[in-house]
């Protein structure tokens, strides 16, 4: 590609000397170079992101067999969604998961950020310690927690025993397994949001706090009148990103796939996991695509509402 971008470098006003073919103007050369620079990524994104996205929308109207044969089935896949009790179950599980995970990440992320946003001995070490679960792979995280949460003899139950508490079947009781998975998810993700909040906190000018102190503002007033309002853009970003990743992030799939396979009794079958199961375990590609389209549409609407309600998280102050 360098050959075409390494266009002749004479200043454009100079007349073409003895070369055949039309000379490009400088602006045209610049545009040509830009297109060539962007081409590899644009092509890749078009083929491997945009095309599947569009393909997904149409795939929902087809039945696909294992050999790649397509048959148009109209709205059959969407009708099936309405009557499939497992799909409804997975929607419910996802709703509970999102409604707990998003606030939990907000509180833990902000809490940790406030905790380590002050001069303190070893503060850098503490920040690293809070963040480190996030660099380990989700497969390792899932496997490790699975061993630690084993019934009776697992490390967590031993710890409970030690404190004189009775243990639980963390990954075997349909009533608590989802919460066990949520706990692991928060543990894995909170360090990431801590860093986002930390950078938000560090952007708040010190003078605001000095002024508050001089005015005799109490701790609550300082937090609710200064910290929280000035963090609004960060908060918006965190809510949006954590919402999208709660519904369709890789942790939602990886942890469930390794730790519970959607069980027990489908109590942890998140939509994103159920879609994968329908596609790659039961070969119902069309049905899976229909559910994925529904999920994307829902996410888009929620995102749009979030944007509209918070006006993009912008907050005007003078």
């Amino acid at each position: 590609m360098s050959a075409s971008v390494d266009a002749p470098s004479e200043v454009e006003k100079r007349p073409a000397r003895g070369r055949s073919g039309p000379r490009l103007k400088r602006s045209q050369r610049e545009a040509l170079a830009a297109y060539l620079f962007i081409l590899p990524d644009a092509l890749g994104l078009a083929i491997f992101v945009a095309l599947p996205m569009l393909f997904s929308l149409s795939l929902g109207f087809f039945s696909v067999n294992g050999f790649g044969g397509f048959r148009f089935v109209g709205l059959a896949n969407y009708q099936r969604m309405l009557i499939d009790p497992l799909f409804r179950q997975s929607l419910w599980v996802t709703l509970v998961y999102v409604l707990i995970l998003v606030p939990a990440l907000y509180v833990t992320g902000l809490g940790l950020a406030l905790l380590v946003n002050r001069p303190m001995r070893f503060v850098g070490v503490f920040r690293s310690m809070f963040f480190v679960p996030n660099v380990v792979s989700l497969v390792v995280v899932a496997l490790t927690w699975q061993v630690m949460l084993v019934d009776k003899v697992g490390f967590v139950n031993r710890l409970f025993e030690w404190f004189g508490l009775s243990g639980y079947s963390w990954l075997g009781d349909p009533n608590i397994t989802l919460y066990s998975v949520l706990f692991v998810t928060v543990w894995f993700l909170m360090g990431y949001y801590m860093i986002i909040f930390l950078s938000g906190l560090q952007e708040i000018p010190r003078e605001y706090y000095d002024a508050a102190r001089i005015d005799g503002a109490g701790p609550w007033a300082t937090f609710f009148r200064i910290t929280l309002p000035l963090l609004r853009p960060t908060s918006f970003f965190v809510l949006l990103v954590s919402l999208v990743s709660a519904v369709a992030g890789s942790q939602a799939f990886d942890l469930i796939y390794i730790m519970t396979r959607g069980g027990p009794a489908n109590s942890t079958s998140l939509v994103i996991f159920y879609i994968y199961q329908q596609a790659f375990q039961f070969n119902n590609y069309g049905y899976a695509a229909a559910m994925a389209s529904f999920l994307v549409l829902t996410l888009l609407i929620v995102t749009f509402v979030l944007f509209a309600v918070t006006k993009g998280g912008r907050f005007h102050f003078t």
Binding site: S9, D41, L51, F130, V132, V136, S137, V139, D254
Partner: protein, 286 residues
Amino acid sequence: MSQPTAEIRALRPSRNFFRRVGPILLFCFTAVLAILTVSPLVWMICASLKPGEETFSPNLLPQHWTLDNFAYVFTASHFWRYMLNSFFVAGTVTVVALWFHSMAGFALARLKFPGREVIFLVIFSTFLVSLPVIIVPLFILVRQMGMVNSYAGLIIPAIFNAFGIFLLRQFYIAVPQELQEAAVIDGASYFRIYWSVMLPLSRPILAALAVFFFLANWNAFIWPLTITNDQNLWVVQIAIASFHNQYSSSWNYIMAGSAVVALPTLLLFFIFQRQLVESIKTSGLK
């Protein structure tokens, strides 16, 4: 959690006792929390150094230290091969992605051309599409291209993401205009400006992104799971996940495999902490 923090900061000098004890309490609280946070990872590493019958002992530290679990993992499976596969896939994706994204980021930031805003917005909007959502059509597409069970299938679709383009564009926008103008006056071509001016300038952010991409691809699970079933193409994540099915009761082997898989990511994190944290911060600022 926030209340005590703010409270101590705002206490009046008259409440001297709290002023002195508060920070100590806060320090202890933070330290305990931090230790609890890393304890599962410490537990994993300890479990990988314990013989099988000790896995579920109440002690954290092994009573009999052993490396047998590691020896077993590397002899009973082709673990070296899986490690090499992971290094190759993650390394290739990282290098190619940095190259493509830096070119695109440079053009979007520094060159003028019709449709620039539109192209940027379209690229940016792919930001919102996550892999699990498009995995079904993507798999069908890649299967039609004949890339199932191939390195190409593992590598090529993983290269393209808007995040890297976006970050690099942000960086190149901030480069002083004079540097580019000087190069133009010297008669440098656009490729030369990119290669000899912009790339060297962006070394820090490229390093940060390299760590970021390598970690993400080393840790990737759902795509390798979907696109490969040939054992020769397994990456480490697939390997340890399948240990799980194979030796479901031999958790000591699974923990040893996990420790080996986690080790490169932990090392990268400790060496490149600052860069990693910077790139996350930038992604949050917009």
